[in-house]
């Protein structure tokens, strides 16, 4: 399994063979506050890199969730739809959003590693 990569839109992505698991970062959940609603892409649908692939809402506002790479949605995490507070509790593991069969592995190269993302997140919240 490859290392976890991160996008500027605060998604994380973990590649296992040609299937990527995608969720939102802990930093994102801290900015959003209590998440009370999640909407995921449909299984079987295709999503394009940097396109919208879901929505999360806090008590305050709605935010789009983007996909950091292109591919076909092969699985979604119904558990976070049923209980969105799981996203605040464990954003970078059990509260993943969707899995993609990726189209172009080279898209992974455009993303940040953990150190770069942490630095990026710190800069924008400063």
């Amino acid at each position: 399994m490859s290392e976890v990569k991160y996008s500027k839109e605060h998604e994380w992505i973990k590649l296992d063979g040609d299937v990527a698991t995608i969720g939102i970062t802990k930093h994102a959940t801290e900015m959003l506050g209590d998440i009370v609603f999640a909407e995921l892409p449909e299984k079987g649908s295709s999503v394009e890199k940097d396109g919208t692939a879901g929505v999360v809402e806090s008590t305050k506002a709605a935010s789009d969730v983007y996909t950091p790479v292109s591919g076909e949605v092969v699985d979604t995490n119904q558990a976070i739809v049923d209980d969105p507070s799981k996203i605040n509790q464990d954003p970078e593991d059990s509260a993943w959003f969707f899995k993609l069969k990726i189209k172009d592995p080279s898209e992974m190269d455009t993303l940040m590693n953990k150190d770069d993302y942490d630095k990026f997140a710190k800069e924008i919240s400063a």
Binding site: D34, V36, F37, E57, S58, T59, K60, A61, A62
Partner: protein, 367 residues
């Protein structure tokens, strides 16, 4: 214009508040525990809200003042008992709402609590109407805090003895550290609670004592979810100059006595609407499922005709689901009417429901 800070700013910082600008003030939107926990803590225990940005208008006068204020507000102020409060509105001649407010009869005259964003304009309107006949003070030297929730009476009474004997929507002067504080049993959460007017220099000490007794500071975020579950209106969203109290379904707040005579600002329209009905009216709206329909969401009927708009919508932590209110054409305002809400381009089913979403727990009669 520089944003103002309330006298509790330091305490908010000490409690790790996240701030937002609201009506020209730096106000806490939430603290470290977050909106959902703060909301639940208020419902189950006791929460303190800094509402010092709101206007505290003292108007001094006697019989003449009562007569003059009755020309403005649709209230029977003559028969209002000393230290009793009423919810009311400042309207224009077309009964459009400039502001909603709480007015309390005091020994010296009246105390009116005004919304932060409206207070300066309200002051101008009232001063002009009252033609400078009375001393009017929009008091900058006093802070206002609310303590809300089932444990609040016990906690506040421990610090300021006697408050537990106040009835709902009534108040009195008490003392704290030799300072005169005016306390009413009222609030904006649907819970039992109090609002406390105290000089700026002592509000920090009082609030810290209440926190030591087990209450917690609660931000504007939870204040909004609490009031919406309680079915209470927020000015600038559910109420504004394009809506009348009858359309806002607040006719209970208009004195029947005064309607028969009809000599207050906006009375022509109010009487006409009470007799003929209104074309749009405020209702509660319960979305099916978990979808949240926020302010400005369009409402459609079952034939896909646009019939209204959401004015407030969020997730209600105590209801554990989405809650909303808005205005619909009168013929679609009946309870259980099926409607559709357009969120992100898709229509989602919802139904018209009665308010509140969460049962109010006001303490009606203590003595």
């Amino acid at each position: 214009m520089e944003t103002k800070k309330t006298s509790l700013y330091q305490l908010h910082q000490d409690c790790n508040a996240k701030f937002v600008e609201f009506a020209g003030y730096q106000m806490p939107i939430q603290y470290s525990e977050g909106i959902v926990e703060e909301h639940k803590f208020t419902r189950n225990h006791s929460g303190i809200f800094d509402v010092s940005h709101m206007g505290q208008l003292f108007i001094y006068g006697g019989e003449d003042l009562i007569k003059d204020l009755e020309k403005i507000f649709p209230l029977d102020l003559k028969n209002l008992k000393l230290n009793h409060s009423k919810y009311s509105f400042l309207m224009d001649k077309d009964a459009g709402i400039h502001d909603d407010l709480i007015i309390t009869k005091t020994k010296e005259g009246f105390l009116i609590i005004l919304n932060a964003a409206c207070k300066d304009n309200d002051f101008k309107i009232l001063k002009e109407f009252l033609e400078d006949k009375y001393k009017m003070v929009l008091d900058q030297n006093r802070s206002l805090i609310a303590i809300q929730g089932p444990k609040s009476s016990e906690i506040l009474n421990d610090v300021i003895n006697g408050v537990k004997d106040l009835n709902f929507m009534s108040g009195n002067w008490f003392t704290f550290e030799n300072q005169k504080v005016y306390i009413t049993r009222s609030g904006y959460t649907g819970e039992d609670g109090f609002e406390i007017s105290i000089v700026n220099d002592f509000v920090d000490q009082l609030t810290r004592e209440l926190i030591n007794k087990g209450s917690k500071l609660i931000g504007l975020g939870a204040r909004d979810t609490l009031r919406l579950e309680a079915g209470l209106c927020l000015y600038g969203h559910d109420l504004d100059k394009d809506k009348t109290p009858v359309e806002a379904n607040l006719k209970w707040a208009i004195s029947k006595e005064r309607i028969s005579k009809g000599d207050f600002i906006g009375s022509d329209i109010i009487i006409k609407q009470l007799n003929d009905g209104v074309s749009k009216i405020r209702v509660g709206i319960k979305p099916e499922g978990r979808i949240i329909a926020r302010e400005k969401t369009k409402i459609f009927n079952q034939s896909d005709v646009h019939i209204g708009e959401i004015t407030s919508g969020t997730f209600g932590p105590s209801v554990n689901g989405p809650v909303a209110m808005g205005y619909v054409e009168n013929e679609f305002s009946k309870k259980n009417t099926k409607v559709f809400l357009e969120v992100r381009g898709k229509k989602h089913p919802a139904s018209i429901c009665s308010l509140p979403f969460y049962k109010k727990s006001y303490v009606k009669e203590v003595n």
